[in-house]
Symmetry: C5
Subunit: 240 residues, 5 copies
Amino acid sequence: MVLDTEIIVDGIEVEKPVLITSFPGIGLVGTIASAHFILELNLEAVGVIESKLLPPVASLFDGVVLPPVRIYQSKDMGFVLIHSDVPVIPQIAYDMSRTIVQWAGEIGAKRIYSIAGVATFEDKRRVFGAATKKELLEEIKEHVEIFKTGTISGIAGSILNECVAKKFPGIALLGETGGFNPDPRAAASLIKAMNKILSWNINVEKLIKEAEIIEAQMQKLAEQARMHEGVKREELPMYG
Amino acid sequence: MVLDTEIIVDGIEVEKPVLITSFPGIGLVGTIASAHFILELNLEAVGVIESKLLPPVASLFDGVVLPPVRIYQSKDMGFVLIHSDVPVIPQIAYDMSRTIVQWAGEIGAKRIYSIAGVATFEDKRRVFGAATKKELLEEIKEHVEIFKTGTISGIAGSILNECVAKKFPGIALLGETGGFNPDPRAAASLIKAMNKILSWNINVEKLIKEAEIIEAQMQKLAEQARMHEGVKREELPMYG
Amino acid sequence: MVLDTEIIVDGIEVEKPVLITSFPGIGLVGTIASAHFILELNLEAVGVIESKLLPPVASLFDGVVLPPVRIYQSKDMGFVLIHSDVPVIPQIAYDMSRTIVQWAGEIGAKRIYSIAGVATFEDKRRVFGAATKKELLEEIKEHVEIFKTGTISGIAGSILNECVAKKFPGIALLGETGGFNPDPRAAASLIKAMNKILSWNINVEKLIKEAEIIEAQMQKLAEQARMHEGVKREELPMYG
Amino acid sequence: MVLDTEIIVDGIEVEKPVLITSFPGIGLVGTIASAHFILELNLEAVGVIESKLLPPVASLFDGVVLPPVRIYQSKDMGFVLIHSDVPVIPQIAYDMSRTIVQWAGEIGAKRIYSIAGVATFEDKRRVFGAATKKELLEEIKEHVEIFKTGTISGIAGSILNECVAKKFPGIALLGETGGFNPDPRAAASLIKAMNKILSWNINVEKLIKEAEIIEAQMQKLAEQARMHEGVKREELPMYG
Amino acid sequence: MVLDTEIIVDGIEVEKPVLITSFPGIGLVGTIASAHFILELNLEAVGVIESKLLPPVASLFDGVVLPPVRIYQSKDMGFVLIHSDVPVIPQIAYDMSRTIVQWAGEIGAKRIYSIAGVATFEDKRRVFGAATKKELLEEIKEHVEIFKTGTISGIAGSILNECVAKKFPGIALLGETGGFNPDPRAAASLIKAMNKILSWNINVEKLIKEAEIIEAQMQKLAEQARMHEGVKREELPMYG
């Protein structure tokens, strides 16, 4: 099989890292969480993932070009992070997953954490977990609810499928989100669960504040809508 | 020819197995039957089939990730099973069939049984059989009706085509189904025929009960519809 | 160039055969004729042609699986026959033609006869012929009308094009058909011409009878239509 | 880069030929001109160009099969001609141009003349010329008008682009045509210019007569239209 | 990965050049600027970029054929320029960017300047800059405004992404434009910024005059529109 994805990276300096993968999906839960890691821990990109099928778009941060799928590392926290600004179309998901899982082996990663959101349309912010082997559920079951039955679609799912195929230990952590809006509160819950599982201590206050602002806006909008039907819905800020 | 399908599997421990292939199709007959094998015989996946063109989706069972096309084995019953949660688009059928039949040779399989459904729109639950050679019909003709004339489309058909091309003994077993709803009763009939052909003794009571529940729902719906035209049809549970 | 067609065949035992190619087209003329060869001469398939782009469908004949494009031989009559149940999409025509003409050379074939139909919308059943070289027209001009000007499209045409390119002697025999319905009478005329050209003696009575049945049905339908406008047209049996 | 075009040809016997390329385009100007060369000089095809992406269609001329893109030569006039019956879709243009220009080098061609039409919607029949280098314009500027600014699209343009890339001397000769109908008068003008540039003496009387017949038909149609609005326009004969 | 883009060029004679890339985009700002370099400095093409996916179209300049993507050099000014007449579809952007950045290394380029436009819908003509590394911003920050946050899409963006991936120093210079019309004034501002950054002295008077003509036309049109609603908008000249 010809693979059309390539990982280009400077030497990874974290030994036996956990590899976190984050691609835009429902509620942008994973994306907001990984963007928070980058900002909060002041991480710098050490590599990129390239593919013919990614959209040709460069992001700018303080005037510096950021390719759409970037790789970060934190020696202190012992992780390597793949963060994507752009969603990955199904045609590319297998290709990219296969490349990522193979590379995880090459850098000696001990776990892959695929982080994303899951929509329940309930107003809760639980975190659900699943894993590629029963034994791995032991590592997370005290900190998240096990996602017993269902499906994980998109690249988050195909990374896990590839982990099963290659017998690489993979874990999914899914932040519950109530709807289709960017959901920093779900991202905060996700990070809190990761703090427990991985013995981290990443502060999520900024995300909580952001959530409160969005929720206040939503609240106001709902009140206006009640007073005046047909009101046009204000665009909420989009992450990523 | 470049093939885009790959079989990744731990050592198969069944000698001269029969290889059963099951992909979602009409009435989900084959899929319900093979899912029943997995649950009833408590089988564990020993491998997967991967392809760039399969949809990127992972299923969860008790929190454990299941890739969409999985391989199981039963040493006791002497079979290897390829079970797919997802339908296979025509563009991929040839590729996958070719890979499967070649692999059947590599693991020393003595027969391929392609199981599926066939719609007759009669309210019967016969099981029809066809084979890649006249001599093979002898093995099944006392337990199923021979499917004399017609076509088998989709991957169930292309696996048989590939068996003919490579002179691999292939048999189709098709459970008759009356419509387009998931049909556990047809799956039960199919398994009963397999029990006879392969000298198995797989219990199908659970499927019969499931069928009775569905049929009772259907009956009730039909009565309601007669009483009140325009009633909205309740969604029936979907398998697989 | 990467070719995606493959011919898989047991040893051909006919020396210097003529190779007949038959794919579904207008009036199914070629297909009815070659199906008649198979039934009348009781031929058994000795091989298949495979391609990723053929539809995934298996036909059944007396319970035995028939892949869509099959190869037959008749040692008595000195021919090898490629018969297809399915039409070939333009995207695949070149690939398949190239593979067929190359294979014709490998089995030492002395001629390729591409048989098909040609629509004139006249109520005649002439047979038209064309060839890849002027000298070849000599072989057929007493038994068919030369098809002076026009085009042959689809794989019947691309096989001839490939014959020209590779200097392989190719002949087209086209049974005239009056419309778009399956036309066994045109197929019978085509076979009669082949009988003359190739000194065969294949009986076409069954085809004539079939034609009479269809024509009687058509006649009746036409009368009904005259009596009662708006009558719904009965489906005619489809070959292949 | 994988090229999907192939030139299959018997030995070219013209030394240092000019290579003329002609593909159907506006007014069929180039195609009518090159078809006229073939008929007037009684040329026989010595090769073909094949591609997966050409439509599967064979033309017939006096019962003999003609593949869609053919190669002719005239030892007397010192040229090799590529004549296509079918238009070439943009997806194939680069591939075919690249193959043609490379082949031009292999046969020692000294010039490529890409002939085609150009629509001005004026009722003139000028011939326009362009070239891949300023010095080449010297060779044609006394016999044609230089096409100063504009674009040449389709394979006529991409052959010239490829000539520039490979530093192969290429010249475009474009017969002016007034509209979208086949235009033998424009083809005649084009040939007259080629007669001058290449010191040929090809008679164009037949084309002029054909033009007069078409123009008389057009005239009559115009008169009828003036007399009776809504008259249905008669189909004009199509070349190629 | 198979790349479908090829750079064909005569020896580049500029040592350690800056490489400027210019593809049509918003306001045609980059294209007008690079076309101005070619005319003002009287540059001659020394090479082309070819790809299967570029449209088959040749431009003419004074009767001489110009392929759509051309390479120029100026020994005096120390630059190499890639100028495209045609926009590049997203499917080709990665391929072309990768080829360009690799080639930039081969010719010993010290910087890539990707020039383009940026729409702000304000009536200003600022020039914005971004770079692949913070240190590079130092080189431009006194002459342009840093484009802090946002995205650069199309090939202009994917060239920068590829620069990041391959650690090649890349700079984006984006001329602000108020709308979707060709904007020579924005191109002039862009060139003035380049004059400062690169210590050039390219005259932009012609562009300013062109801008004044277009602006006068726009002004007149606006007045007419105010006087007479529903006036049909005159087509403005299109560059490139």
